[in-house]
């Protein structure tokens, strides 16, 4: 293979350098230099990616795996290196990660301007980019796992960025631990891979599979289920989605970058990356599709009643990730990745716009205290509108194309696919509904800040202000991408990804698809209409509807009490087991008990022997004399028995 000089490691190492510089010296540097470092290195990284993309456009063949990668672990015959591979899939991901990543860095400069620990924030952000690029570029599972855990770490640090807030710390910990559950699955999956293939290299596993699949479907299913567990952790799917809503404790740009655009899509990326295995196991595929659909629907329902603007977006993210899983589950990997890309654009935009709103309202996140911001923040409003239209799936916005591709693929996937398509369509309705609800509550109507802020006169809206240009610029760029991002078309996109993800299951591109597209747009419009009905005017209708649906509403507001159930079923029993069974029974009774028993025996014998040690010199002398006499007698007895000397008699005695 010819090796064009791509400098792949640089993509990862530039942000790492930024992390080191800011992390080690940031506290002593002025803000301007911190910002420069923080922006420069992701930009350099993006430049390297862009150059690679340009070379691909110029006809360079993919994949490119740089040889001479340094060894990481080598024991016995097992060997893992720091091997970076660039192919179509990772190129797309890299463009998203570094491109959107850079924009969000830019935005953060404005957003975080007045925060304590400014340098720390950018150090973490660069660290995240480092791990994310490692994850994407990894040429084997283990290296991917490095990035996988690493982004988890960065996520943990950034969620807990506000170290004075207990809720932030809790959320960070929860995110990391829940992710670790997923990582457990990933680890076991890797062990199974080692056991079955003897390697963790994507390429080698791929060739082994392509040649003559040495493994049975059951084994493949086992491996895939383990990997799915990992993916659900990272991509916040049922059953491990619970960390993502809490993760909104972090600064909003972090939510945009990590918990919307990039990190959470790692699970999808991983499934797409390993699709060769998944293709062997219909069961696993079905699990992926069902999990994705269920998550999409479930999260969408919860999103309808959230009042915190960021939580709505968080559940929305979970829901959209469910779409991507659905795409993967029905074999439409390229559609899933396509949606991943467009979702990165519009969801990042949504978060950043929300951040702009929060920033404008000095930290207010509750939508019930917003409203009427359209005039105060026009740029934010218009970019947000583009994003809302995109996520709801209106033609010709980006979301339309990608979501449509996934639903179409699902529709063509047999009976189960039809059912999933139905749920997906309902979810699209819900999506449209809750996004427009957000839109109405935030930007339209009157300002409701005063109603809740009695004593403070007028609400936030009065002195709400538009964000500085450095925050608006990324909004505009992302808005453009949200509008145009889908125009590339699924066919061309799938065609580009084909070497990696295999032949897309696009059989019928005729009337059915057109019908489905139209149906989707109609459903989205219905959602808008419903939202307009409830929230567009005065909110009376909303109140009435809420009244009539009170039990459901409570269920939704309680988020189905999943957190509580997990606490009761898993966390509490583990703690109980640790504290009482292990702690009291094991540690206290058995271990301590044995120690006490032992010390008791020793103490008792000591007590007995102590009586011998009277402290009286003459008694000691008496025993000494007796001992000496006994020894001499013994030696003499030896001589009497005809032995030669003391040593021999001892030998004779112990024989």
């Amino acid at each position: 293979m010819n090796e064009p000089m791509l400098f792949l490691p640089l993509i990862a190492l530039f942000p790492f350098a930024g992390f080191l510089l800011n992390g080690l010296f940031g506290s002593r540097l002025p803000k301007a230099i911190v910002s420069t470092i923080a922006l420069l290195f992701p930009l350099l990284s993006f430049a390297v990616v862009a150059r690679a993309a340009w070379m691909v456009h110029g006809g360079m063949l993919l994949p490119v795996a740089e040889s001479g990668a340094p060894t990481w672990i080598a024991v016995g015959g097992f060997h893992v290196g720091f091997q970076f591979v660039l192919d179509q899939l990772s190129l797309v991901m890299l463009l998203v990660v570094t491109g959107v990543g850079f924009l969000i860095h830019l935005y953060s400069v404005g957003y975080m301007e007045h925060e304590q620990g400014y340098w720390r924030y950018f150090a973490y952000l660069n660290l995240f980019l480092f791990f994310m690029t490692v994850l994407v570029l990894a040429g084997n599972y283990l290296l991917m796992f490095v990035g996988w855990e690493g982004v988890g770490l960065a996520s943990y640090l950034l969620i807990g960025f506000y170290i004075d807030r207990k809720s932030a710390g809790d959320a960070g910990k929860k995110a990391f631990v829940v992710n670790r559950v997923g990582d457990f699955g990933f680890l076991i999956g890797m062990f199974l891979l080692i056991a079955n293939f003897g390697t963790l290299n994507f390429h080698r596993i791929g060739t082994q599979l392509a040649g003559h699949p040495a493994i049975s479907g059951a084994t493949a299913t086992l491996i895939c289920l383990c990997l799915i567990l990992g993916a659900t952790g990272k991509s916040a799917q049922i059953p491990l989605y619970i960390w993502l809503p809490d993760a909104m404790e972090g600064p909003t740009p972090v939510s945009a970058l990590i918990h919307a655009a990039t990190m959470v899509t790692a699970g999808v990326y991983m499934i797409a990356r390993t699709h060769a295995l998944f293709d062997l196991s219909p069961t696993a595929m079905m699990v992926v599709a069902v999990v994705g659909t269920a998550t999409a629907f479930f999260a969408a329902t919860v999103a309808m009643v959230q009042t915190d603007i960021k939580r709505v977006l968080a559940y929305s993210t979970i829901s959209q990730l469910g779409y991507m899983f659905l795409g993967c589950g029905v074999g439409a990997y390229s559609a899933a990745v396509f949606h991943l890309m467009t979702h990165a654009f519009f969801k990042a935009l949504l978060f950043l716009a929300a951040g702009s709103v929060i920033h404008g309202l000095s930290g207010e996140q509750d939508m019930r205290r917003m409203g009427g911001l359209r005039k105060a923040m026009p740029v934010t409003f218009w970019t947000m509108t583009a994003a809302v239209l995109a996520i709801s799936g209106f033609f010709p916005f980006a979301g339309f194309f990608s979501k449509d591709a996934i639903l179409a693929a699902a529709f063509q996937h047999g009976t189960l696919g039809k059912a999933l398509w139905t749920v997906g369509l309902i979810t699209a309705l819900l999506t449209s509904f809750y996004m427009f609800r957000l839109w109405y509550l935030t930007f339209l109507g009157e300002s409701r800040g005063a109603a809740h802020q009695d004593g403070h006169g007028d609400g936030h809206a009065a002195h709400a202000h538009e964000s500085p240009w450095i925050m608006l610029l990324p909004l505009v760029v992302l808005a453009l991408l949200s509008v145009t991002g889908g125009w590339i078309g699924i066919e061309r996109f799938a065609g580009f990804l084909e070497p990696v993800t295999g032949q897309a299951a696009m059989v019928d591109a005729g009337h059915t698809e057109l019908f489905l597209s139209v149906l989707a747009v109609l459903v989205a419009a219905l959602g808008w209409f419903l939202a307009h009905l409830f929230f567009g005017r005065d909110g009376e209708a909303a109140a009435q509807a809420a009244q009539s649906l009170a039990p459901i509403r409570r269920l939704l507001q309680g988020k189905y009490w999943i957190d509580e159930i997990y606490t009761a079923l898993i966390v509490r029993p583990v703690q109980w087991l640790a504290r009482f069974v292990l702690g009291w029974l094991g540690e206290w009774t058995l271990v301590r008990g044995s120690a006490w028993l032992m010390s008791g025996v020793v103490g008792l014998s000591g007590e007995l022997l102590r009586r011998w040690q009277s402290g009286n010199l003459r008694s000691y002398a008496a025993w000494l004399a007796a001992g000496a006499a006994a020894l001499l007698l013994f030696a003499l007895a030896g001589t009497l028995l005809g032995l030669n000397g003391f040593a021999d008699s001892i030998h004779w005695a112990v024989r």
């Binding site: 008694s619 002398a621 008496a622 004399a625 007796a626 001499l632 007698l633």
Partner: protein, 167 residues
């Protein structure tokens, strides 16, 4: 002549030792012990160990026992009282002593027939003989002994000194 001298001084030694046991006042015991040691010095001379004989007098009688008498004088303890603190000494100790003596005596008597005689004409171990071995073969132990004595001096000083703080 040798026999006479041996008998005289052996008798002295035994008598001194017995007196040590019988006397109730430590100073008398100490003086008895000096008699034993001096008698032993003569016996050493009879055995041809002239340097040791003198060392016995200088070190034991002249130095160690002086220390003993000094301490007796200093503490002025008086006669010892009869106390009954140790049962083991009577119950275990004295039978053990009897056994010890019996075993030693029988061992010596059994082996004694192999031993030679000691007479005045046997020749003398001169100081040169002694020092040749001491300073050539056993130089290291000798030096170690001097270190030991140095430590003992320091220890004695440290122990006997009155405490500065609370005395």
């Amino acid at each position: 002549m040798h026999l006479v001298l041996f008998l005289i001084f052996a008798l002295f030694a035994l008598a001194g030792a017995a007196n040590l046991l019988l006397q109730k006042h430590p100073i008398n015991s100490a003086l008895s012990l000096i008699v034993v040691m001096s008698s032993l010095a003569v016996l050493y001379l009879l055995l041809g160990a002239e340097f040791l004989a003198m060392a016995q007098v200088i070190v034991y009688a002249g130095a160690i026992m002086v220390l003993f008498t000094f301490v007796v004088m200093l503490l002025n303890e008086g006669r010892e009282e009869k106390t009954w603190g140790s049962h083991a000494a009577r119950v275990v100790g004295f039978p053990a002593v009897v056994a010890l003596l019996a075993v030693l005596a029988s061992a010596i008597l059994r082996a004694g027939r192999h031993y030679g005689m000691v007479s005045l004409s046997d020749g003398i171990t001169t100081t040169q003989d002694l020092s040749r071995v001491l300073f050539r073969d056993l130089l290291l132990p000798f030096e170690l002994t001097s270190v030991l004595i140095l430590i003992a001096i320091l220890g004695a000083v440290a122990l006997a000194r009155k405490d500065d703080g609370n005395a």
